[in-house]
Symmetry: C2
Subunit: 156 residues, 2 copies
C-alpha cells in the first residue's frame, strides 16, 4: 500500500454529505446525497492531497483514467446532455473531483449546481436503483456489495 | 497536424470573453477578461470535442500535463490559496478547462466564481503585467509574443 494511502481518512464533510459506494484502484467513490442530479465524487486515497498537481505522475494518470471511466459511464447510464467535472475544494480542501450529469431543464440548468438549490436526499428505493444501475456498469469498484457501504446522517 | 486540429475553431463566446495568450502543444491558452481572479482556460485544439473522455488517450494525457503545468504555475506565480479546475460547458459546449486561482477573501470566496459577480475587464497595464509574469514562467506557450494575440471587444 502507498504510504499516503495508509494515512488517508475521508474528510468528515464529505462523509456527511455523501453515500460511500466503493473503491476504484486509486479513489474512493462517493454519491452526493442529492437526488436532483446523478452526482458522483472521486477522492484519491492519498493523505494530504489538495491539488491534482500534488499527486505523483502515476497517481495523476490513474485519477484521469478513473475520472474518464466514471464520467463516460455516468453519461451513458443516466442519459445526460453535458458532464460537469470539477475540482474546487474551497470549503473542503481534501482533493475531490466532482462528476455531475447535467440535463437540459434540470433544477440548476445551465448554471453550475453549487449553491443553487438545497440538496434533496435520496429515498431508499431511489438510492437502491442508482446503486444497482451503476454497480452493473462498474462492478469491480463496488466490490461484493452493490449497496452503499455507509449510511449518511440523512439516508432519505 | 492532427486532422481534428485542422478543423478546430475557437467558440465565439470564448473569443469574446477572453484574451488569447498563446498555444501549448495541445491547447489554446486563454485569459478570462476578469481581473478579479487569475483565471486561465485551456481549449484543446480538437474539432467537435465536448467531453474529456471523447479525446483519445494521448490527448487526454497531454491535457492533464498541460493542466497540471498551468495550474501549478498560476498558483506559484499569483499566490493562491486554492486552485479551482473545472470542465463545465453547459453554456459553451466546446471542451474547455477552467483554471482559477482562488484566494481567501476574493469577491466570490468560498463560492464558485460562475454567476457571482460581473466580470471586471483588465485595464491595459494590468493585462500587460499579467502577461509578463505568466510568459516568464511559460515562455514556450507564448511563442515570440508575450502580449495577448487578439484583443477582445472589451480590452479594459
Amino acid at each position: 500500500m502507498n504510504p499516503r494511502e495508509a494515512d488517508f481518512t475521508l474528510h468528515p464533510q464529505l462523509a456527511a454529505d455523501c453515500h460511500r459506494l466503493g473503491d476504484a484502484p486509486l479513489c474512493r467513490l462517493l454519491l452526493m446525497n442529492d437526488a436532483q442530479y446523478p452526482w458522483c465524487i472521486l477522492v484519491p486515497r492519498r493523505a494530504e492531497a489538495r491539488e491534482i498537481y500534488q499527486l505523483d505522475l502515476a497517481d495523476q494518470r490513474q485519477l484521469l483514467d478513473e475520472s474518464t471511466t466514471l464520467g463516460e459511464t455516468l453519461m451513458r447510464t443516466f442519459g445526460g446532455d453535458k458532464l460537469n467535472v470539477a475540482a474546487l475544494g474551497n470549503v473542503v480542501p481534501q482533493l475531490h473531483l466532482h462528476h455531475i450529469v447535467r440535463r437540459h431543464g434540470d433544477p440548476a440548468w445551465p448554471a453550475p449546481v453549487w449553491g443553487r438549490h438545497p440538496a434533496q436526499p435520496y429515498a431508499a428505493e431511489e438510492l437502491a436503483d442508482f446503486c444497482a444501475r451503476l454497480s452493473t456498469a462498474l462492478p469491480t469498484w463496488f466490490g461484493a456489495n452493490p449497496a452503499p457501504l455507509v449510511q449518511t446522517k440523512h439516508p432519505g
